[in-house]
C-alpha cells in the first residue's frame, strides 16, 4: 500500500483497485476542531481536482479536492456522528471517502511521504 500526498494536504492511499482519501495531520491541525464533514455520495464521478468533500470547522469551511479521477465508492459513514475523527485520526479512521482510480498515471503527479514532509517544512 502506497500513500501519496497533494499540495492541498489530501492523502490518497491505494490498495488494489480502491483508493482511500483523507486530509493530512497538518491540515486538520490548521483547521482546528472539525464540526461537520460533507462526504461525497457513492457513484459520483470525480475528475482530478474536483471538489469532493467539505470539511467544516467553527470558523471555516474547506473544500477537499479529488487527488485523482475516479468514481466514489463510499463516503465515510462514521463522520456523520463523529466528525472529530478527522482531528483524532486523520490518517486512519478519519478518512473521507473511497474511490476507484481511473488513470493510475495521475498518481505520478503526487508527492510521496518524504516529499510531502519536506513540502510542509517549507510552509
Amino acid at each position: 500500500m502506497t500513500r501519496y500526498f497533494t499540495k492541498d494536504h489530501e492523502w490518497i492511499s491505494v490498495e488494489g483497485d480502491v483508493a482511500t482519501v483523507g486530509i493530512t495531520d497538518y491540515a486538520q491541525n490548521a483547521l482546528g476542531d472539525i464540526t461537520f464533514v460533507e462526504v461525497p455520495e457513492a457513484g459520483k464521478a470525480l475528475s482530478k481536482g474536483d471538489t469532493a468533500a467539505v470539511v467544516d470547522s467553527v470558523k471555516a469551511a474547506s473544500d477537499v479536492y479529488a487527488p485523482v479521477g475516479g468514481e466514489v465508492l463510499e463516503g465515510n459513514p462514521a463522520l456523520e456522528e463523529a466528525p472529530e475523527l478527522v482531528n483524532t485520526a486523520p490518517d486512519g479512521e478519519g478518512w473521507l471517502w473511497r474511490q476507484s482510480v481511473a488513470d493510475a498515471a495521475e498518481l505520478g503527479d503526487l508527492m510521496d511521504e518524504a516529499a510531502y514532509a519536506a513540502y510542509i517544512a517549507e510552509l
Binding site: T35, D56, V58
Partner: protein, 517 residues
C-alpha cells in the same frame, strides 16, 4: 461644599482574603441570571386580555382546525417585562459605551428618529392603501431619495432592497439586466480579495462567476492586475470604497474608466460611505451602482442584527433596470409610487422585476430622513470629517504599540487597521478582542479584512467624544502591552462578563437550536 465622608467612616469589610460566598439563587447582586420563557411560563397565565370569541368556526374550516393550542407558554405582563429587561442587561450596546466595530459604523442612534418613525401617519399605514390616502408617505420617500441622489451624485435610487446584501444583489441584477438588454454575454465579475464576504456571495447568486483581484502592497486594489483582466467577458467589478482596510481607493476613477472602456459596469460597496458622506460623490468617480446601508451611515439602529435597509443609487446607464416598485416625482414635483400596473406607462418596462413584497423598509426611511434633515449638508460633511479624524487619532495613538501595516503610507479614512504582528508567541488578535470586553468596550472587528494577518479593524465613528476615544486608546495600549508581554490572564479573558468564552465547537457539532422539555 462639604468633603464626602469627612468622618472617615468605613463599612465592616470582613476578614482579609476571605472567599466570596456563593448565592442560593445563582444571581450575584445586579448580575442576574434568567431562565428561558419555556421554563417560566405556565398554562392559564396570559399577558393580554382578550374578548370571548363571538361564534363557532365556519363549517368549511372544520377539517383544518388544530387539535390543541400551540405548545407555547403564557406569561403575565410583569413577568414578560421582567424577563426581557433582565435579558437586556446581558447585552453590550452603543448606549453603554464605544462600539469600535470596523466596517459596521456603530454610531449613536438618535431617539428623534425613533419618535418620528412611530408617528401613526408612518407606522400605522398599510402598504396597499389607496394611493390617495398615503401621499405623505410617498413624499417622505421622495425626499429621502432626493437627498441620497444628491449626496451620491447619481441618477436614481432603488429603495426596495431590505438590507446591504440585498442592495448588492439589486445592483448586480441591474448590471445583469443591462448586459442582457445589449444582447451580450459577460459571465465574470471581478472582486478584490479584500472585499466583504457578501460581495462574492452576491455575485454568485446573481449568476456570475467570481474572479479575485489581488491587493497591492499599500492595501489597495492592484490597478494593473485589474486592468489586465478586463475584457469582453467581464460584466463589472465590485469595489468597496473606502475599502475594508480603511483606505480610499485613489485609482477609483481610473478603474471606472477602464471598466467602462471595455463595456463593463462598476459596483461600489457603500458600506463605508460614512467616511465620505458630504465630501465625495461616488457618481463623480464613475460608479454605476452603490448600496447605502441606512443602518450605518444614516444611523438607523442595528437592533441586535437588523432590520437593515439597503437603497441602491444607480447611474443613468442602470436606472432603467431598477426594481419595482419605486417612488418617482412627476414634472410638478408630486411623488408617485410606480408599481407593476404603472411601470410600462411610466417608461420603466425594462425594470428587472420585484425583489420583495411591498415598497421597502419604510420604518428605516423615516428614521434616515429625520437623521439627514437633522444634520443637513453641513452636518453630514462634519460627520465624515469627525469620523475620519477619530480614526486617524486612534491610528497615530496606537501605531507605536500595535503593528499598523499601512500607517506609514499615509492617513486612513474612517477606520484604523492593525495586525497581530509583534504579539507574544501564542497570543492572538482574539485575545486582545476578549481583553477589550473586560475593559468595558465592544471589541473591534477581528480577522477581517483577510488580507492582513490577525486583522484588528477599529472604527470609532464620529459620535465618540475625545474623552471616550482616549479611554478606548488607553485600554488598547494596556492590552497591547499585555499581549506583547505574554500575560497569560489575557488568554482566558473575558473574566467579568455574564458568560466566559463559550464552546462553539460543541454548538456546531451537535446543533441544539430549539428548547425541548
Amino acid at each position: 461644599m462639604n468633603a464626602p465622608n469627612a468622618s472617615g467612616w468605613k463599612p465592616e469589610m470582613g476578614p482579609a482574603g476571605s472567599a466570596l460566598p456563593t448565592t442560593a439563587s445563582g444571581d450575584k447582586g445586579l448580575q442576574l441570571e434568567e431562565a428561558l420563557i419555556f421554563e417560566l411560563g405556565q398554562a392559564g397565565t396570559y399577558g393580554v386580555d382578550l374578548p370571548e370569541p363571538e361564534a363557532a368556526p365556519v363549517a368549511g374550516l372544520s377539517k383544518f382546525l388544530r387539535k390543541a393550542a400551540p405548545a407555547l407558554p403564557g406569561l403575565s405582563e410583569p413577568e414578560v417585562v421582567r424577563h426581557y429587561t433582565r435579558l437586556s442587561r446581558q447585552n453590550y450596546a452603543i448606549d453603554l459605551g464605544p462600539f469600535p466595530l470596523g466596517s459596521c459604523t456603530m454610531k449613536h442612534n438618535p431617539r428623534l428618529n425613533e419618535k418620528m418613525a412611530r408617528l401613526a401617519g408612518f407606522a400605522d399605514i398599510h402598504p396597499l392603501q389607496p394611493k390617495q390616502s398615503v401621499a405623505g408617505a410617498f413624499e417622505a420617500i421622495a425626499e429621502l431619495s432626493d437627498w441620497l441622489i444628491t449626496l451620491t451624485g447619481m441618477a436614481a435610487v432603488a429603495l426596495s432592497p431590505k438590507a446591504g446584501a440585498h442592495g448588492e444583489l439589486c445592483g448586480l441584477l441591474c448590471i445583469r439586466a443591462a448586459i442582457e438588454a445589449k444582447g451580450e454575454d459577460r459571465p465574470v465579475v471581478l472582486v478584490p480579495e479584500s472585499a466583504h464576504g457578501t460581495n462574492p456571495a452576491t455575485a454568485a447568486f446573481a449568476g456570475f462567476r467570481v474572479e479575485s483581484i489581488p491587493a497591492n502592497a499599500d492595501g489597495r486594489v492592484d490597478f494593473d492586475a485589474l486592468v489586465s483582466r478586463l475584457g469582453p467577458d467581464v460584466a463589472g467589478v465590485m469595489i468597496t470604497n473606502p475599502n475594508t482596510c480603511g483606505l480610499f481607493e485613489r485609482d477609483m476613477k481610473r478603474i471606472s474608466d477602464a471598466v467602462h472602456a471595455v463595456g463593463g459596469y462598476v459596483y461600489c460597496d457603500g458600506a463605508n460611505f460614512n467616511a465620505i458622506v458630504g465630501k465625495v460623490r461616488p457618481g463623480d468617480l464613475g460608479v454605476d451602482a452603490m448600496h447605502i446601508n441606512l443602518h450605518k451611515t444614516f444611523s438607523t439602529p442595528h437592533g441586535g442584527g437588523g432590520p437593515g435597509s439597503g437603497p441602491v443609487v444607480l447611474s443613468a446607464a442602470l436606472a432603467p433596470f431598477a426594481p419595482l416598485p419605486f417612488v418617482q416625482r412627476d414634472d410638478a414635483g408630486v411623488a408617485h409610487l410606480i408599481e407593476e400596473e404603472d411601470a410600462a406607462a411610466q417608461g420603466h418596462a425594462q425594470s428587472f422585476g420585484r425583489m420583495a413584497a411591498f415598497h421597502g423598509q419604510m420604518g428605516m426611511f423615516t428614521r434616515a430622513l429625520a437623521y439627514i434633515l437633522s444634520h443637513g449638508n453641513d452636518g453630514l460633511r462634519q460627520v465624515a470629517e469627525d469620523a475620519v479624524l477619530n480614526a486617524n487619532y486612534i491610528l497615530r495613538s496606537l501605531e507605536d504599540v500595535l503593528d499598523a501595516p499601512f500607517a506609514a503610507a499615509g492617513p486612513c479614512m474612517h477606520e484604523a487597521l492593525f495586525s497581530d504582528n509583534g504579539l507574544a508567541e501564542g497570543f492572538t488578535t482574539l485575545d486582545v478582542a476578549k481583553g477589550l470586553i473586560d475593559e468595558g468596550f465592544h471589541p473591534m472587528t477581528v480577522y477581517f479584512p483577510l488580507v492582513v494577518h490577525g486583522a484588528m479593524l477599529v472604527e470609532p465613528t464620529e459620535t465618540e467624544s475625545k474623552a471616550g476615544t482616549d479611554r478606548l486608546i488607553a485600554s488598547m495600549r494596556a492590552l497591547a502591552e499585555r499581549a506583547k508581554a505574554g500575560d497569560v490572564t489575557l488568554k482566558s479573558a473575558p473574566h467579568y462578563t455574564p458568560r466566559r468564552r463559550v464552546d462553539e465547537t460543541l454548538a456546531a457539532r451537535k446543533p441544539k437550536l430549539v428548547w425541548k422539555d
